[in-house]
């Protein structure tokens, strides 16, 4: 079993961030959507712990890379978009921090309150939703690198899964349609 362990105060160097900027977002979106779906499938207790049945849209904003992620939870479905920037009005809550700090939170290596005290993460919007998400994710004992490697292995062994993601609307499966994307 691999574990992801590195300092949560690590910051992606500017030249790396600049090099990432021209790259298309769709492949990353497909990967992250399938990763999020597989994590929720493996850890259904995440949604149980969050305990909200209303549609929740979180903006995850890694401050040291040139993209951001919108995650939408609705019942047992998770939808995901990778964006250059958010429309704040469509988010219920936003979490900003370095990529390492955000991964550290998911992976259980970092403490959310400590990152908040040190100003390494900033949270805005529906704080109850953020707290529920933070506690649910911490309780799920997610090993992000292992989950990602499992997905890569799946893609290698079943290339059709990747192809379906590329051809269909797989990345945004479960996501609200544009008509449904009302302000919280």
């Amino acid at each position: 079993m691999f574990t992801l362990s590195f300092r949560h105060d690590f910051r992606v160097p500017d030249f790396v961030s600049s090099a990432l900027r021209p790259l298309p977002l769709l492949p990353l979106e497909i990967f992250l959507q399938q990763l999020a779906s597989s994590i929720v499938a493996r850890h259904p207790d995440i949604l149980e712990r969050i305990g909200r049945t209303d549609r929740l849209r979180f903006g995850i904003d890694p401050s040291d890379v040139p993209f951001a992620v919108e995650i939408e939870l609705h019942h047992s479905v998770v939808g995901l978009r990778v964006l250059r920037s958010f429309d704040e009005r469509l988010l219920h809550a936003r979490i900003t921090g370095t990529l390492a700090a955000l991964i550290g939170l998911v992976d259980g290596e970092a403490d959310g309150d400590a990152l908040f005290f040190s100003r390494e993460i900033v949270v805005t919007g529906d704080i109850a939703a953020v707290l529920a998400l933070r506690n649910a994710v911490d309780a799920a004992e997610i090993k992000l690198l292992s989950e990602a490697l499992a997905l890569v292995r799946l893609w290698i062994s079943q290339p059709g899964k990747l192809l379906r993601g590329l051809l269909a609307d797989e990345p945004r499966r479960g996501y609200a349609t544009d008509n449904e994307r009302t302000q919280p």
Binding site: G108, T124, A128, E141
Partner: protein
């Protein structure tokens, strides 16, 4: 008073979720305290706590590893809704937990009357801070241990232990409340909900943050309660940690944003007759639990072997990123 040598001091550790409990057990906790997923405990936060089945599995895991489990049922039952609290006591007893931590006199009477073999600990929320009060709980309900409020100096704790027949437990690490535990109405004043009745201080649903010119602005209910300049450590969004202006002086008029860290006082607390050391933080992560429990187990091990207490490395996980010995030394005004 039961004399303690240090070797028989217990480390009582927080767990807000089943994985946090396992982390605490694996890191060497002698006992773990936790609560059900409702307002019967003082950390009734979104996404936190144990379902009944979670708790049963957690008790099994802890007992298999020789660790005790205490269930906190330490809020005060609302009139007309006491059934929720009674059911929590019933379920705790059925799960064969090692103790329940209670604060309310009526609930203590219920537990003592229905489950005479269930070990009762008095919560810090009861604010029993003198021998007469503690003896009342011992005589009336058979309380075996009192968690002392964080208002006492080490000398006062020694005096109390010399005058009572039950064990005492004291906080050694974690967030601090204003010095009137179980009696604070600040959160209730602003939000209508309090730790005493609803298990939440400054509920997240009433909290808002935004950044303004680099400052972190904290709102609670309809009030701005703090504005923290860029680069300075943030604090919990509670009124007691807020910054206000009064008589032309600006600052934190209730309490500084700082955590308790009494690790250096463990030998003195041992000499004062304290039986158990408690770590605050059921709302914190597995990472926090592992770091703090490991640090304090090392401290207890050092004391038992006659070595110096290791230097604390817990500032990073502390509120305000700084620590105090609090009332134990009473070095403030």
């Amino acid at each position: 008073m039961t004399p303690t040598t240090g070797k028989d001091m217990e480390l009582i550790c927080p767990a807000g979720t089943p994985p946090a409990l396992r982390v605490a057990v694996d890191a060497g906790a002698h006992a773990v305290y936790c609560g059900f997923q409702d307002e019967t405990n003082a950390r009734n936060f979104p996404g936190l706590n144990f379902s009944r089945s979670d708790m049963a599995a957690a008790v099994d895991y802890a007992h298999q590893h020789g660790t005790k489990v205490f269930i906190a049922i330490n809020t005060f039952p609302r009139a007309g809704a006491a059934t929720l609290w009674h059911r929590a006591v019933d379920d705790a007893a059925a799960l064969s937990v090692d103790a329940v931590i209670l604060a309310d006199i009526g609930l203590l009477a219920y537990a003592a009357g229905h489950y005479p073999d269930l070990r009762l600990h008095l919560s810090v929320q009861a604010a029993a801070a003198n021998p007469e009060a503690i003896r009342f709980y011992v005589d009336a309900f058979g309380v075996k241990r009192v968690v002392l409020p964080r208002v006492l100096s080490v000398a006062e704790i020694a005096d109390i232990n010399g005058a009572i027949s039950c064990e005492t437990e004291v906080f050694v690490f974690g967030g601090l409340c204003v010095m009137a535990e179980g009696r604070c109405s600040l959160s209730s004043y602003v939000t209508g909900q309090s730790p005493n009745m609803h298990g939440v201080c400054s509920p997240a649903s009433h909290v808002g943050y935004h950044e303004s010119k680099g400052d972190l602005v904290t709102r609670l209910g309809n009030f701005t309660i703090n504005r923290i300049p860029a680069g300075q450590p943030a604090a919990y969004p509670t009124l007691c940690k807020g910054a206000f202006r009064a008589n032309n002086v600006s600052g934190q008029i209730f309490e500084d944003a700082v955590s308790l860290d009494a690790s250096t006082l463990i030998p003195a607390l041992c000499r004062a007759g304290v039986k158990a050391l408690k770590i605050e933080g059921r709302q914190r992560s597995r990472a926090y639990t592992k770091a703090v429990v490991t640090q304090f187990r090392a401290a207890l091990h050092a004391m038992a072997s006659g070595a110096e207490i290791p230097h604390s490395v817990l500032a990073q996980v502390s509120e305000g990123q700084s620590a105090t010995c609090g009332a134990y030394l009473k070095t403030w005004r």
